[in-house]
Symmetry: D2
Subunit: 248 residues, 4 copies
Amino acid sequence: MPLSILVIGSRGRMGQLACQAIDADPSMQLVGRVDKDDDLAQCLKQSQADVAVDLTHAKLAATHAELIIDAGCRPVIGTSGLTEQSVRAIQDHCMQQHRGGIIVPNFSLGAVLAMQCAKLISQHFQHAEIIEYHHAEKQDSPSGTAIKTAEMLQNVVEYAPPHSETINGARGAVHQNVPIHSLRVPGIAAKQDVVFGHPGESLTISHNVIDRQAYMPGLLLACRAVMNLNECVYGLEHILPDLQAPSN
Amino acid sequence: MPLSILVIGSRGRMGQLACQAIDADPSMQLVGRVDKDDDLAQCLKQSQADVAVDLTHAKLAATHAELIIDAGCRPVIGTSGLTEQSVRAIQDHCMQQHRGGIIVPNFSLGAVLAMQCAKLISQHFQHAEIIEYHHAEKQDSPSGTAIKTAEMLQNVVEYAPPHSETINGARGAVHQNVPIHSLRVPGIAAKQDVVFGHPGESLTISHNVIDRQAYMPGLLLACRAVMNLNECVYGLEHILPDLQAPSN
Amino acid sequence: MPLSILVIGSRGRMGQLACQAIDADPSMQLVGRVDKDDDLAQCLKQSQADVAVDLTHAKLAATHAELIIDAGCRPVIGTSGLTEQSVRAIQDHCMQQHRGGIIVPNFSLGAVLAMQCAKLISQHFQHAEIIEYHHAEKQDSPSGTAIKTAEMLQNVVEYAPPHSETINGARGAVHQNVPIHSLRVPGIAAKQDVVFGHPGESLTISHNVIDRQAYMPGLLLACRAVMNLNECVYGLEHILPDLQAPSN
Amino acid sequence: MPLSILVIGSRGRMGQLACQAIDADPSMQLVGRVDKDDDLAQCLKQSQADVAVDLTHAKLAATHAELIIDAGCRPVIGTSGLTEQSVRAIQDHCMQQHRGGIIVPNFSLGAVLAMQCAKLISQHFQHAEIIEYHHAEKQDSPSGTAIKTAEMLQNVVEYAPPHSETINGARGAVHQNVPIHSLRVPGIAAKQDVVFGHPGESLTISHNVIDRQAYMPGLLLACRAVMNLNECVYGLEHILPDLQAPSN
């Protein structure tokens, strides 16, 4: 029997793509679309969905998750920027009901794999810098992904110190010994290079997203994986089996 | 007490660098240099070295290893291109004497880590291509590292088939479903990109060697690790602890 | 007075974008949209457009251009793959009527500039290779742009010959001494690297298109420039003033 | 008759390479090597060299150039960091004697071509950022080449403003509307990317030096070209014929 899925925020750009991707997957069935004017609790009740994917806003995540869990359904929260408080509220609620859930700030499998590779390499290369390229509309810098990546690196030591700058900012934004350089360039959607150096050699992990299609495989994977959980996990890496076990 | 090390082939380019690197490491002591005109058996006996690093030729590897093992010393064989027969002979000899040994076709930590990352990613991205760049003097193509990398990738499926070429060779050398593209460019020493693609995103592992210094950390690591082995392993990956165990 | 423009093939993906871009430009006015079921001759007569942009098919280009010229309008032919015969027919017709026209196989300013830069560099670097990356649906390889780029390079000499391949195709498709390597990767739309090497240094021109928006500035430029021509030129480079001054 | 050349600073790393390169060129003859303890005036007199290449220090450049010119020889000053005053003194002295001379802060042909390409592209792409990578020993940032490159770009407008930084320095060092990002990475010798963006496309010029060999073709070219000058020029671009024709 196919997995029955409800999409919340189905008219947004991510929502439309998600509906198409679920429709195209023979192991899944799209049993409902929920948007602003709809009553989520009622939709959950009527559809009897196994999984509800929330693609609306971080602010609504905790409220939506509660309704989803109480309806006997499993939440896949696909918004970024949740407060720690919201994350904990959702996790507590899942725990109480012994219900699977997953919060995914970034559905891209490539982004998760890039971070895991960077973490692995950082155990052997003591110097790393991050270059992140985004479209010009992005307001803040560095990106959340760059900051999270810097925090995952281990054993990295500070290198050429920033006081040698003849123009301020040349050596980037240093976070946990990792300089981060943010480019805002029209014509590039979202790209991140993590550059590691040793005397004589360098090693770069480069991840490049050009289209929201990139997020669909991770979204479908989350829908499937949430059925086998009995708690709420945070981050796609928790449901990729080989990232938890030996890679060779 | 420092680890005592003998370098065989000490006058070659790798040999000179190895002697410098060992000299500069306070936990090691260079107790002998052996070259063409020297008697290896006698040097081993006189030096009482813990470890002997062979940087001569693949053809000499098995003979040298036997002398090293019989002298109660541990071989670090740092030449590439050994036949399977030579590898097995060395491993058998180590086994009989319960002696540690290691054969390392490529001492670069970056190369090993790049391959491990590529292997990890290949479990989630079904399409991969390899671009390898080498200096113009390199005779054969594709490189041995590119072929070995292609063989480590898993789940990769063939993509756009080569019969659509209007000029032969455009789609590269296909090995185990992975197209390999070999550039021979003056001004590039040794570089390899492994490019993975998904709809909407791509992920690239790029490794770049510009100087033989790149091989020294792996060489020193092999010297240390061989003391704790009681068999002979093939490849630097076997002595990097985190590559054998969960990375998170 | 704004430039009045007619778009032929207005419902296609390029056509829709072109109509939006013209609408958004205060110096231009969109005076008509022509599609399959419309009568082009009549639309040209009614609209009295200054310029007609044809975004349909290479096969229709010559016929459309003739109707456009005969109506006193100027053709901007924005399709690729025209036969030499079609190109000449359009140019002859423009010549006879002393009418401006332009045939543009690739509206991307970046692509034109990348080729001009590659041409300039080729006067000083004797070895070059091209890597072109396209999405997986692209049928033929190498790409037309890669072949045209190879033909623009000067003084390039053949390097490591292809007979050293242990797997056929490793050294790519050699065209006019330039090896071309074609990658077909989901997640990359259209990218081209031209790699030049000298002993000790390399220089790479990398052009990356991720969205059809890339073609709009060149399209608007062609509409403006065609008003000042009295013959039909082929290629966007002819209307970029600084590229006409002898760069060689 | 071969061109006779004197090398000043022949024992330094650049000097040794220069002597080898001159020796290997059949159209040239190395007629003298001058170092610290030698008397330059006397060496110039004895050797009767056509050209003297100075590879010592910026501080000595003006004094050396004066001696060279007064001896009837032509100076090729191959040091960087000359003050404006020194440059003018050398140019005045050449002018008075109607003597050719050239001051070359960077002998790399690739660096000159990269800057010329960047200048050309900047006429059509309004947004540019520079990433420069250097080895970890480099003290100052941004590099002189990055600053000079930013100054050559035209029509570039400021983009996402730096006040959106959540960590200081993320958006780099902004110089003439061009953000410059400086990486200091062991394992990279000297690399510079100039990244241009348009909606939908990006164009990158990437120059990578891995060895001082990169400077020899430019050095030999300067020795030849200085014979045909009757004034002193600054920068390799002035003797590359195709770069003098107006590219804008």
